[in-house]
Symmetry: C2
Subunit: 355 residues, 2 copies
């Protein structure tokens, strides 16, 4: 059977002050619809039902996740005692699935991406599922780039895009490039954006972790037998305590042999910062995106979320303004990535009440 | 005897959202010291005691004025039932003074200016008092311009500055100039900024109002006999109802014959907008002026008053940010004059709760 595993453990510090440690990005309703987490589950409608969907998140978000996804069986929310990046998260989910279904195929999806074309997205997933089952491959979803983005990693594949959906063998994974390299990637025609979405058989990824991340594998070795017993919680804690902190991209994907990519041509955004939220929002004649009570005078290309008070802009351009009850951010649109530095500053200066 | 008459009826809409109709600029503590009104009275120490000082303000600010100036006799706060610009305000004060002292000399001072050099200021006033008494003149205080300001009116005088304090005959009053004209004024050496501060005998100004503003004079004709009686309040209301709305500059000063100006060379600012507050404040290494809880990252030349919440700036330059409990302003420094348009907008859109 095919299962969805949603990774929802991020803290989203680039969305401060709306996103807080107690309430990160994936639980927010930044586009006036459902939260990003809810959208991630909804997007799977017709391909996998909630009964075969799982969420892995930090234990502090367990209750919040169950509240936001009441259609999910409560025990399908897997709680991590410590954040250890994506490899342990995926190991945990794979072991959990294997305990019930030795033939489980898992689709691993980040909880905080925006994809509006569900049909195109699901079509790519179906091709990926097929490749995972037939080839025993580690399959990732790549995104056909629309511009020379420097904020994403890239995947080079072997072959030529022919307009049909295929799984292509992966040649290389490339880190976030500089502008010149990103332009070269774009021109080459055989580079895709690395979306961080994966499809594989649960046993395939566990074997790959054993091969490429033996310490991580060893940490989780005891978990399999404990699933469904009174020792499960204890085994999970022990596994996370022992596991190294490492991403599945760096730890497995970049090293494994049988890696494929399915190029998705749907609009995709990992909503990395407020700038992305601005870009993805409908703006008015002056390029402004205004939420709640905002008055603008001679101002353009601004994103303003006013919270409970009136915000007035006079002669302001290209700014992001996000208000909350106890803190307000005013940020230049081009500086949106630096918002995470603010959160670091708050931590470093004993201002945790704002984090 | 010499008296101080402080004009404190303005609503200060360019200082929104700190300044509200219920709490205008002159009652605010924008420089971390006393309020502008309190500073105006303090600045007269040594020249006129509080017992010979008066404040004219709108009746809605009567109590606030008495609260801020407890050293002033309560009955020295003269309340205007309607705002009618400066000519009626001055007529009221002059008639009030004349009822008790036919030889009263009055110094008329706006409540919302910043002057830090009290000694130089008082020296100019003493010369003005002498001219008002000896020449029976209408005397105004001019300010030696330090740059080609376009936000002030100008006064051209007859004579040459010789470094000593004189009262010079006034040749012309000039409206706020454009940049080219302001530069010409500055180069000419015989133009001063019009500060809106006046010194004259009370009887001289009443006679001048009779001559140049007969309708205003007629409106206040009945007041003289009512001062000190049970009919005084009623007479004040009747006078303001009948009086035209006109400034003393336009109505009298620009037309009268015996007009003198004393050039003051002290630092002076009418604090016309938030930009002026920024300019007059001590700023840090990045040119920022930060009040209350503000964190700045890669931001410069900003004025931020944070109220009760944390404000964080990232990549923001040349902005004015003023927070209050129910409204927040974000304004480019060069757009500070336009803040009054916001107040007009709020009135026009039934948003009086924010005014």
């Amino acid at each position: 059977m095919v299962y969805t595993v949603i990774m929802a453990g991020g803290i989203g510090s680039r969305f401060w002050p709306r996103s807080r440690e107690a309430y990160p990005k994936q639980f927010l309703n930044v586009f006036g619809e459902a939260t990003l987490l809810q959208q991630t589950l909804q997007r799977m409608k017709g391909i996998v039902p909630p009964a075969r969907s799982f969420v892995v998140t930090h234990q502090r978000y367990g209750e919040l996740t169950r509240r936001q996804l009441p259609e999910l069986p409560a025990e399908h929310v897997l709680e991590e005692p410590i954040s250890r990046n994506t490899a342990p998260c995926i190991a945990y989910a794979a072991i959990k699935l294997l305990a019930h279904d030795p033939d489980a195929v898992m689709m691993v999806l980040p909880a905080d991406h925006l994809i509006r074309d569900h049909a195109a997205f699901q079509a790519a997933l179906r091709v990926a599922i097929e490749a995972a089952q037939e080839k025993g491959a580690l399959v990732t979803i790549g995104i056909t780039p629309t511009h020379a983005a420097t904020g994403y990693g890239y995947i080079q594949f072997d072959g030529n895009l022919d307009g049909k959906l295929h799984a292509y063998p992966v040649k290389t994974f490339a880190e976030k490039p500089n502008v010149a390299t990103a332009e070269r990637f774009l021109d080459s025609g055989d580079f895709l954006w690395n979306s961080g979405m994966f499809v594989w058989r649960a046993d395939t990824i566990v074997e790959s972790i054993q091969k490429y991340l033996p310490k991580c594998y060893a940490a989780f070795l005891g978990l399999g037998g404990a699933i469904g017993t009174q020792y499960e919680d204890e085994a999970v804690h022990a596994a996370y305590r022992k596991s190294p902190r490492i991403s599945i991209d760096y730890g497995v994907m970049e090293r494994a042999d049988t890696v494929y990519v399915v190029p998705g041509s749907f609009e995709w955004n990992d909503i990395g910062d407020w700038r992305a939220v601005y870009d993805l929002s409908q703006n008015d004649d002056h390029g402004n995106v205004l939420h709640n009570h905002v008055i603008v005078h001679d101002s353009s290309r601004c994103y303003v979320d006013a919270g409970s008070r009136l915000i007035v802009l006079v002669g302001i351009h290209d700014a992001i303004v996000v208000d909350t009850d106890d803190a307000l951010l005013i940020c230049h649109r081009e500086s949106a990535q630096q918002v995470r530095n603010v959160v670091e500053y708050l931590h470093a200066h004993q201002l945790e009440q704002y984090v």
